[in-house]
């Protein structure tokens, strides 16, 4: 049982956290033909746009209501209307997803009311799907924005089936948390399809931000789950929710459509994937395909090979709750100690983490604690680069943003294969660090304690 505390500082230094409106916008990016729209000043969008562009290395569709000072004070109806009409006229989207920001929430704009009025006044957009989510910047974090947005999409766009008889047991809804990459979604899709099931991902970033080359240039998202497919999710046999953040959306789905759900708080590591395989066997009535039986063996082998390097490592992780749970869990299962766990927002998984204390804080906290506790492996997003170079410890990048390495969108964590590759990557990083920085010298043992993995040894 971990205790969860919140950093007491007035000033956040080197933020780990990102804002919830852009978490919401990313969720909308997993929808086909979508244009995410932040209701705020144009910087709110521009910062998010740059962040995602640098992470995914793709063109990112995202618009702004471009609130001026005056509009902010008077209320943003005109801006929302103009933005919706401009987006409709220029980009012909299949859906517009609106997230509020700190600016417009401080004023208290009634965007749901605006949308109603806009539809009444403009026949062209009367039936255009427009989903609004309240996501003030001064509350919660990225993961919460994603969670709220997916829940809202379920509540407003999924249709309740007319009769239970129309339910199709081969259809599976998948509600992935924002800690999964497009690569993870593709892996999951393959696994589920190999059991003869047909998954619908909401959101489906693998369709839109996996780097594929689209058939035509479009200013909206170039793929993802379609509006029609979302509306039919109520006919599925099961919903699989991945990450504790997706519980609300899964519950909303069940409440609206009666589709039962199964939570997978983790999908990285041996036990988590055993549970997935058993579940898929149960609901499909098919045995686990040979391919996965072999992959399970490979993961076990990787765990055996990797535990030599990962075992005993003193780990510092900075990540949003569900990602922290996945990677902290995996590495402690290989014998690492999770000595420093810093996260961004509250979550039920935090107190179940295999550590004594979880801090809702920033990368300065991570750095100070990692130093104090002599950590020798750090995992966080790219913003940890300065911290890691000061601490001089191996640094494995995970999470958004990953702007100083390629392939962030394809980093694999789920499935037996994802765990296997992750163990290899991290072990290799540690081996390289050992060779580069920790080769024994005639003086290594002179003080009687032996070479340390941490920075102090050189």
């Amino acid at each position: 049982m971990a205790t969860v505390s919140v950093s007491k500082k007035a000033c956040s230094v080197n933020p780990l956290k990102m804002s919830q409106p852009i978490g919401g916008a990313l969720a909308f990016m997993g929808l086909r033909g979508a244009m995410p729209l932040l209701h705020g000043s144009q910087g709110c969008t521009s910062f998010g746009l740059v962040l995602f562009t640098r992470h995914f290395k793709e063109a990112i569709p995202m618009q702004t209501t471009a609130m001026s000072e005056v509009a902010t004070v008077l209320g943003g109806y005109d801006n929302v209307e103009q933005a919706v009409l401009n987006i409709y006229n220029r980009t012909k989207p299949e859906i517009i997803g609106i997230c509020s920001t700190g600016v417009t929430e401080t004023k208290g704009d009634d965007v749901d009311g605006y949308i109603k009025l806009i539809r009444e006044k403009n026949a062209a957009v009367a039936h255009l799907p427009i989903v609004y989510v309240s996501t003030p910047d001064f509350k919660d974090a990225f993961q919460d924005g994603w969670e709220k947005t997916v829940t809202r999409i379920v509540e407003t766009m999924v249709e309740a089936p007319k009769s239970v008889a129309r339910r199709d047991p081969t259809k599976i809804n998948v509600l992935p948390g924002c800690h999964l990459t497009p690569g993870d979604l593709d892996e999951l899709r393959t696994i589920i399809e190999d059991f003869g099931l047909e998954p619908t991902f909401l959101p489906d970033l693998a369709g839109s931000l996996d780097g594929h080359i689209p058939d035509d240039f479009t200013p909206t998202t170039i793929g993802g789950v379609g509006v029609e497919e979302i509306s039919m999710m109520g006919q599925a046999g099961w919903t699989i929710a991945i990450g504790a953040q997706m519980r609300r959306a899964a519950e909303a789905m069940q409440k609206k459509t009666g589709v039962p759900f199964r939570m997978f708080e983790r999908l990285c590591g041996l036990e988590a994937n055993d549970a997935l395989m058993s579940f898929l066997t149960d609901i499909s009535g098919r045995p686990v395909p040979m391919k996965y039986r072999r992959q399970r063996g490979q993961l076990v082998d990787a765990m055996l090979d990797g535990h030599f390097h990962i075992g005993g490592r003193k780990l510092a992780v900075g990540a949003e709750p569900d990602l922290l749970n996945e990677i902290g869990g995996l590495l402690t299962e290989l014998g690492a100690q999770l000595l420093v766990a810093v996260t961004t927002t509250q979550s039920p998984v935090l107190e179940r983490l295999p550590t004594e204390e979880v801090l809702i804080g920033d990368l300065e906290d991570l750095e100070n604690l990692a130093k104090a506790r002599d950590c020798d492996l750090m995992v966080t997003h790219s913003h940890g680069r300065q911290t890691a170079s000061r601490l001089k410890i191996p640094f494995f990048r995970m999470g958004i943003p990953m702007f100083d390495r390629l392939g962030g969108g394809h980093q694999l964590m789920v499935g037996y294969r994802g765990g296997r590759d992750l163990i290899f990557d991290i072990s290799n990083l540690l081996m390289a660090d050992h060779d580069d920085n920790h080769e024994p010298t005639p003086d290594s043992w002179r003080d009687g304690v032996g070479p340390s993995h941490a920075a102090t040894s050189h």
Binding site: N14, S46, F47, L51, T53, Q63, E69, T72, N86, V103
Partner: protein, 556 residues
């Protein structure tokens, strides 16, 4: 907020801005903050602009007072480089929460300043205002003043919340903050007749260091660079410089002009992009310093250095010229780099097929025209499809642009080079020009293009998406060519003003019907250029064409 709006008005009145000088009193009041277009806007806010302008000051703690979005989504993402402190890359933010929004964030801000001083002890703290605290009435000027008195340390308010306007307004508001609170507040340890300020240079990718060795060789001291690789004390004592060079077009013209007004420091607008521009700038620096009292022999040494560096650079570039023969470049960029890069590329023997002038001022555009001759093909607001077609038609062999448009080129399997702020290479001065040429060569002749353009084995020739897009475009063009009525319709249907969705035909009709001769007149009748205003230059061109056409008719 009244003092902020007064500052904004003051910035709008900038007499050093040529664009401003041509405006009427009423227009000037409206300012250069064009109405941003909901659903059609791109680019950063005033806060972003202020931070871009000041963050390269390396030893300052930059504290953002606002919710997590303003700093958390964007920190440490600039390509500026530091020769010393890395404090500027540390993200500081008050990360205000709901309670702060209800009860005010001033206390948290004050405590944050205290924490930073206790932990990091920087020579100064810059406090950036953002929209939410501005709305709830947090008075950062008062908090900064109190902190300044309490901690006896410069704590500078940067009043440029995002919603007051776009990025370039933020650049100027940042300049105002320096003028008001920093410049002239300290004295330099010593001065020399060779003290130069460089204003509006951010040292992206360390490009300033491509030029600094030359200045060092000439004995010219960069007293302060505002703000690339700058230090607080240097900026605070920069009022003792003898001359100034303003680098980034209009971003900080207010700083250069007001320093001339207040401290008698003459400035010129120059560029270190391109060989000739570099030489001109060095000459101008020498001339100004001599005028302010440096020995006249500085010019001889400068000329000798220019001759040596030019010869070296030309020799290095010469070997690429045959490889670039017949190669065409599509340049998509805004602001300062449009004209300076054009000159640079032409020096390397490349041909330009167009250059976007979206963000450039009219003056910038005039310079491009001057440089490229009358045939300059200005490409504004190209759609991705048009851009692809242009590349694909082999009318362009390589595209040079800012980071965000790169994917259009890359997805079209076309060579691409980053020339905006997130780029990894430095292209300033003589060595930078050689580097740019080298990078273009590397991109053009990379064997990867041949591979990535190959169709997949299951794709029949002419059935991939690229061919379909081309075929569609060609079919449309053929249909128009065969039908003059349709062609005229298509010509008239070309959207001139994207913000207000006004077509060419509507504008032409309005001009004819009302005998219009000004952009303002067109705006009144058609609403065109009533949005972001970027299309004003195009309306001017339409007016020019129609006037000359009607003269031709009258002459017959």
């Amino acid at each position: 907020m009244s003092s902020l709006s007064a500052t904004i008005q003051d910035v709008f009145n900038e007499p050093g801005c040529g664009k401003n000088a041509n405006k009427s009193e009423a227009e000037r009041k409206k300012g250069c903050t064009k109405q941003l277009q909901p659903g059609g806007a791109a680019g950063g806010c005033a806060f972003d602009g202020a931070k871009i302008a000041l963050q390269p000051l390396t030893d300052v703690a930059h504290l953002v007072h606002g919710p997590i979005a303003c700093e958390g989504n964007s920190w440490d993402n600039r390509g500026a480089k530091s020769s010393g402190s890395n404090l500027w890359r540390t993200g500081f933010t008050t990360d205000i929460n709901e309670t702060d929004v209800v009860f005010g964030g001033e206390k948290r801000l004050f405590k944050s300043i205290r924490e930073i001083i206790e932990k990091y002890d920087p020579p100064a703290i810059f406090v950036y205002q953002t929209c939410v605290p501005a709305m709830i009435g947090d008075d950062i000027d008062a908090v900064c003043k109190a902190a300044r008195e309490k901690f006896n340390k410069p704590v500078i308010p940067i009043n440029s919340p995002g919603f007051v306007g776009p990025k370039n307004l933020g650049n100027k508001l940042a300049g105002e903050a320096l003028l008001q609170h920093v410049i002239g507040t300290e004295e330099p340890e010593y001065t020399t007749p060779y003290d130069l300020n460089i204003i509006g240079e951010y040292n992206l990718s360390g490009e300033l260091w491509q030029v600094k060795p030359l200045l060092d060789e000439l004995g010219i001291r960069i007293m302060a660079c505002i703000s690339g690789d700058g230090k607080y004390k240097e900026v605070a004592s920069s009022h003792r410089a003898k001359a100034a060079m303003m680098v980034c077009s209009k971003a900080m013209i207010n700083v250069a002009r007001k320093m001339e007004e207040r401290y008698g420091i003459p400035f010129f607008e120059g560029s270190f992009y391109g060989i000739e521009d570099s030489s001109d700038s060095l000459r101008e620096i020498a001339r100004m310093l001599i005028e302010r009292g440096a020995p006249a022999e500085l010019m001889d040494r400068t000329e000798a250095l220019i001759a040596r560096e030019e010869a070296k650079a030309w020799a290095a570039i010469a070997k690429y010229k045959p490889r670039f023969e017949g190669k065409k470049v599509l340049l998509i960029t805004g602001g300062v780099k449009s004209w300076s890069v054009v000159a640079a590329l032409q020096e390397a023997g490349l041909e330009l097929v167009g250059t976007s002038v979206k963000k450039s001022t009219k003056e910038d555009k005039e310079r491009i025209k001057e440089l490229m001759g009358q045939d300059a093909h200005m490409i504004e607001d190209m759609t991705p499809r048009e851009m692809y077609k242009m590349l694909k038609d082999a009318r362009a062999d390589i595209m040079l642009s800012g980071g965000r448009s790169q994917f259009i080129a890359l997805k079209a399997s076309m060579p691409w080079l980053d020339i905006n702020q997130e780029r990894h290479h430095a292209y300033m001065g003589y060595v930078g020009m050689v580097k740019l040429v080298e990078e273009i060569d590397k991109a053009l002749y990379n064997p990867v293009w041949a591979q990535v353009r190959k169709p997949a084995p299951w794709e029949k020739a002419g059935e991939n998406w690229q061919s379909r897009a081309m075929a569609q475009a060609e079919a449309e063009a053929a249909a128009l060519a065969a039908d003059p009525v349709k062609a005229e319709e298509a010509r008239r249907a070309k959207k001139i003003c994207n913000c207000k969705s006004v077509e060419l035909g509507v504008i032409e009709d309005a001009i004819l019907a009302n005998n219009l001769s000004t952009v303002e007149g067109v705006r009144e009748k058609t609403n065109a250029s009533g949005g972001c205003g970027a299309c004003a230059v195009r309306i001017e061109e339409i007016l020019e064409q129609m006037v000359s056409a009607s003269h031709a008719i009258a002459a017959e």
